[in-house]
C-alpha cells in the first residue's frame, strides 16, 4: 500500500510539472512577455541611457557607472516607464569555448530540500555586454 501511495504521489508530481512546463513554454505567453519587454527597453528614455552606457562601456565603465545609467532607480528618475516586476542587472554570458569545465554533481550527503523540484522560471531579456533587461516570469 505504501508503495502504491508513493507511486501515486510521484505520478501527481510529474503531472503538475508537465502542466507547468507546458504553461511556461506556451507560445502566446512568450510572445506577450517578450512583446512587453521590447516595448519597455526600446522606449526613448531606456534607449538613451543604454546608448550612453554602451559608449561608456566601450571605454571601460565600472559597475558603479553602469548603475548610474542603468539601475531601475536612475531610469525611473529619468522618467522611464518600467513595469513593477521588471529586473535590470549586470550579467555575464559564458564563453562555451573558453569557459571553465567543472564536473557538476550534487554531492552525496547533502539533502535536497525539495525546492525547485516542481517549478523553474523563464525570463525574457534584451541584453548587451554586461547588462540584461528582463521581464517575467518565474513561477
Amino acid at each position: 500500500m505504501e508503495q502504491k501511495a508513493y507511486l501515486q504521489n510521484k505520478l501527481e508530481e510529474l503531472t503538475r510539472e508537465q502542466l507547468i512546463v507546458k504553461s511556461q513554454l506556451d507560445r502566446e505567453r512568450l510572445v506577450t512577455i517578450t512583446g512587453n519587454l521590447i516595448d519597455t527597453i526600446t522606449s526613448p528614455k531606456f534607449i538613451e541611457n543604454m546608448r550612453q552606457f554602451r559608449e561608456r562601456a566601450a571605454k571601460g565603465a565600472s559597475f558603479e557607472e553602469a548603475g548610474d545609467l542603468m539601475s531601475l532607480e536612475s531610469l525611473r528618475a529619468a522618467g522611464a516607464d518600467i513595469p513593477k516586476d521588471f529586473r535590470l542587472t549586470s550579467r555575464v554570458f559564458e564563453d562555451r569555448e573558453t569557459g571553465f569545465k567543472i564536473e557538476i554533481k550534487p554531492p552525496r550527503g547533502i539533502d535536497d530540500d525539495g525546492m525547485g523540484r516542481v517549478a523553474w522560471g523563464a525570463c525574457a531579456g534584451g541584453g548587451a555586454a554586461t547588462v540584461c533587461g528582463c521581464a517575467g516570469g518565474s513561477t
Binding site: P44, R54, F93, G99, I102, P106, R117, W120, G127, T130
Partner: protein
C-alpha cells in the same frame, strides 16, 4: 516634449527608428520562441523539470551544452541560436539562456535578445535595488557548481 518628439530625439543618434528596432527584436524573438516551443525542446525541459534544483545545473552542463546529447534527444539548434550559461549581478539562480544576436546595424545599443531559464526562486528574495543588481556577476560555471551544492548564491563573493 511629446512622446514622439522624445523618441525622435533619443533615436536621432541611431541609424534606425524605434519601430524598426522593435520589428527586428520581434523577428529574432520569434526564432527563439519557435525553438523553445518545439516538441524536442519541450521534452528536454520536461526531463529537466523532473529533477531537483540541485541536479539541474549538472543536466545543463551535461546535456544542454553537449551537442551530442542534444542530437540524441532530437533537439536541433537553428543557426544563430546559442545555448549559454550566464550569471546575473543580482545572484538569481539562473540555469541557461537561449540567445540570438541582433543583426549588424541594429546592435549598437542592444546586442542580443534571449529567453532565460532559472531555477525557481522567491521573487522577494532577489532584490531589485541598485546596490544588489550592479555587482560583478559570479563566474557562470562556479555559480552552477554552487547551485548543485545547494550553497546560497548570496554567500558567494
Amino acid at each position: 516634449m511629446s512622446e514622439s518628439e522624445a523618441a525622435t530625439a533619443a533615436y536621432s543618434h541611431l541609424a534606425y527608428s524605434q519601430s524598426d528596432l522593435q520589428q527586428v527584436m520581434r523577428e529574432h524573438y520569434a526564432k527563439i520562441i519557435d525553438f523553445v516551443t518545439s516538441p524536442p525542446f519541450k521534452a528536454l525541459m520536461l526531463e529537466m523539470s523532473a529533477m531537483s534544483h540541485m541536479e539541474r545545473p549538472g543536466f545543463v552542463a551535461d546535456v544542454l551544452l553537449d551537442d551530442g546529447e542534444l542530437e540524441r534527444r532530437g533537439v536541433v539548434v537553428p543557426d544563430g541560436i546559442l545555448l549559454q550559461r550566464s550569471a546575473f549581478g543580482d545572484r538569481r539562480p539562473t540555469l541557461f539562456a537561449v540567445k540570438h544576436f541582433l543583426p549588424e546595424g541594429f546592435n549598437d545599443v542592444w546586442q542580443n535578445v534571449n529567453i532565460t531559464f532559472d531555477n525557481e526562486y522567491l521573487d522577494e528574495a532577489v532584490p531589485r535595488s541598485r546596490d544588489v543588481c550592479w555587482r560583478p556577476p559570479l563566474e557562470p560555471a562556479h555559480q552552477a557548481l554552487a547551485m548543485a551544492r545547494n550553497i546560497p548564491l548570496e554567500q558567494q563573493p
